[in-house]
Symmetry: C2
DNA sequence: ATTAGCACTCATATCGAAGGAGTGCTAATA
DNA sequence: TATTAGCACTCCTTCGATATGAGTGCTAAT
């Protein structure tokens, strides 16, 4: 740990990693000696590589094979060695356009858009992609509407600032008159509109129920329904796409592995944990990279996972994740995720200044 | 084609198929001679098998291997030879319970339930499962509610008989007064409530817009929105589960095949075609079996697909599909699908007789 | 400090032989 | 005439032996 890597070792390490990223094959000393511009013979490289191996940055799958990066090596790479890539503009613009198309396509249906986004990510990166629907806890309520669908059934519709709509039908113990429904609507909207879910506290509720008189119980039910509709655990939708891209990477695609991995991608609950975890622990720009064992999900320990947090507008946030082999193209993935963050941000712009209801 | 199969050939064919269903290995004459109760030597069986092969019911993967059923053989099997299985009660009840649990669990959220149902199917059968959300064209409108969320934005909520709720926000060109919203609500509910989408025709629309006066344009927009919300093509959600079960069957799980197949399961649009096709062409009890090449989807030509149409209540219908190897346990699958049909039917029971709104 | 050279290791591919399952055919049998 | 025993034959599969080749580590020379 305490050894410092001199310039040359860094170059060689980088060369090893980049070469391995491309080919997926262990890379030998001879290859490096040609690959880099420092004119060194394979023998010299061999010596350096032996050092690097001893320090734990690279390793041999077996004696007399080339070297592949270790988790530690990848870590160093993404932390220090990886430069912002100079993007070939044409290609990049193409991809951005692709994504915009998807976005515009179904802008009014968030779910469809997220699904499309996941697909677009998977296609562009050639890895598996997953994306969570936004979590609403900090999203503000804009409008609440109760309607009597049947004498003992109330339809409760909640519209939020981000134009997301939740609804629920609730049964009430006895019939309710139209005037009472109207009264409830007024109460709810005057008290709750403009508040975020987490701002609704007990004091507020008891104040409201105090005013409600005989409608007390129904009001409580409605508030419960609102809370439940927004409850993030319950509500966490995850969209995945490109699971089969896994097959494109031989080191992951032996039957055992691939099967488990793809199963995991079907297990939304496991993913949920992973994604919310990384949403809460924000680091540099909200992008987080898990390499190999660093991931909290056991079945992914032969992969790398890159997650990013996106934010539609104040308080409406979700997470995007990309799953691929350890030798994934980190630069491209990070860059792509950054773009997507941006795209999502502009698709549902920050709240406009209007306050009227 | 014109040859008739005598009793004994049928028995042998059935024995071959059943044995192959269990093992997945080509089955030889010796095996059959022990497997069946007609006491025949392997030599006799061999002769019969040669005949069966000539007739196209079975085939040899290579000289001097056992026989496996051909598509034609499977066809005969599912059409004629397959008996309703005597179910071991304990096991069956267990499975039924499993499904009920899933149903009760999330009864109020159709989507979650369908997802769970797909999962339950996949787990129970060990094949891949897919299920479409119901199509609403024949479902009846129960209640329509317009609300002004913002001065120029109307929230339109539609509740159907089957308690499904659709919503959409529509922009209107100019501000609308509260009285006008109320007026529209009354018009919409008196004219449309109780009708199925397909019953709303042009005459009805023009009559309504005639009454609407200055609200004419908005009314048209609302009706469009309702139609769009229910448009089946646009709206067709498909839930899949158990894609990785494919790996359990060696004959499907070489990389080439499995990868394509699982990709197809991600391609909702392809599945949509398959499932709606089979929904429309109803045969015996709505259950349809595609064997090998019979399936309309090319990538599934090494599989069999079994589909069933379910009906929640009058006019609300969807399709369930199971995808597995040709040697899938047809009896069990058919039986399971029948159960699911039933379960779904009882989860959302036929409309009760109430007419009040 | 670097490099050339060489022996060594080990995964992989190739080949042939052995083994075995299953067939088709023929001749014997009931 | 239908069934069966027996046998030769086919062809897949397995196994071990061998060869190949990429890549290393080490030593000695530059």
């Amino acid at each position: 740990m305490s050894e410092e890597l001199d310039e040359r070792k860094l170059i060689i390490l980088k060369a090893v990693i980049q070469n391995y990223l491309e080919t997926g094959e262990p890379v030998g000393s001879r290859t490096i000696s040609k690959y880099t511009d420092l004119n060194l013979s394979s023998a010299t490289i061999r010596n350096e590589m032996a050092d690097l191996e001893e320090m734990g940055y690279i390793l041999q799958p077996h004696t007399s094979a080339g070297r592949i990066p270790s988790d530690k090596g990848y870590r160093l790479y993404v932390d220090n060695l990886m430069k912002e890539r100079e993007t070939q503009l044409e290609q990049k613009e193409q991809e951005v356009d692709d994504m915009k198309t998807f976005l515009v396509d179904k802008m009014d249906r968030l779910e469809g858009m997220l699904q499309n986004m996941a697909k677009s990510l998977a296609v562009n990166t050639n890895y598996a992609a997953m994306i969570t629907a936004p979590q609403y806890t900090r999203n503000k309520i804009k409008f609440i509407q109760l309607s009597a669908v049947e004498p003992t059934k109330l339809l409760c519709v909640v519209v939020t600032q981000s134009k997301l709509i939740k609804n629920k039908i609730l049964e009430i113990p006895e019939e309710i008159s139209n005037e009472d429904v109207l009264k409830l609507n007024v109460m709810l909207n005057t008290s709750l509109a403009g508040l975020a879910l987490e701002e609704i506290n007990l004091a507020m509720i008891s104040q409201m129920t105090g005013q409600a008189g005989s409608l007390n119980q129904i009001l409580r039910d409605v508030i419960d329904a609102v809370a439940e509709a927004f409850d993030s655990e319950e509500n966490l939708e995850i969209y995945t796409s490109g699971a089969t891209n896994i097959f494109k990477y031989p080191e992951l695609s032996d039957r055992e592995n691939a099967s488990k991995l793809i199963s995991t991608l079907e297990e939304k609950k496991v993913l949920a944990g992973l994604l919310t975890d990384s949403m809460n622990s924000e680091k540099n720009n909200g992008i987080q990279i898990y390499i190999g064992d660093e991931t909290p999900v056991q079945t992914m320990k032969d992969c790398s996972v890159v997650t990013a947090t996106y934010e539609l507008e104040d308080g409406v946030r979700g997470t995007i994740g990309i799953i691929g082999p350890k030798r994934m193209d980190y630069e491209k993935v990070v860059e792509t995720l950054n773009q997507v963050k941006q795209q999502l941000g502009s698709a549902y712009p920050k709240p406009d200044a209007e306050k009227k209801s």
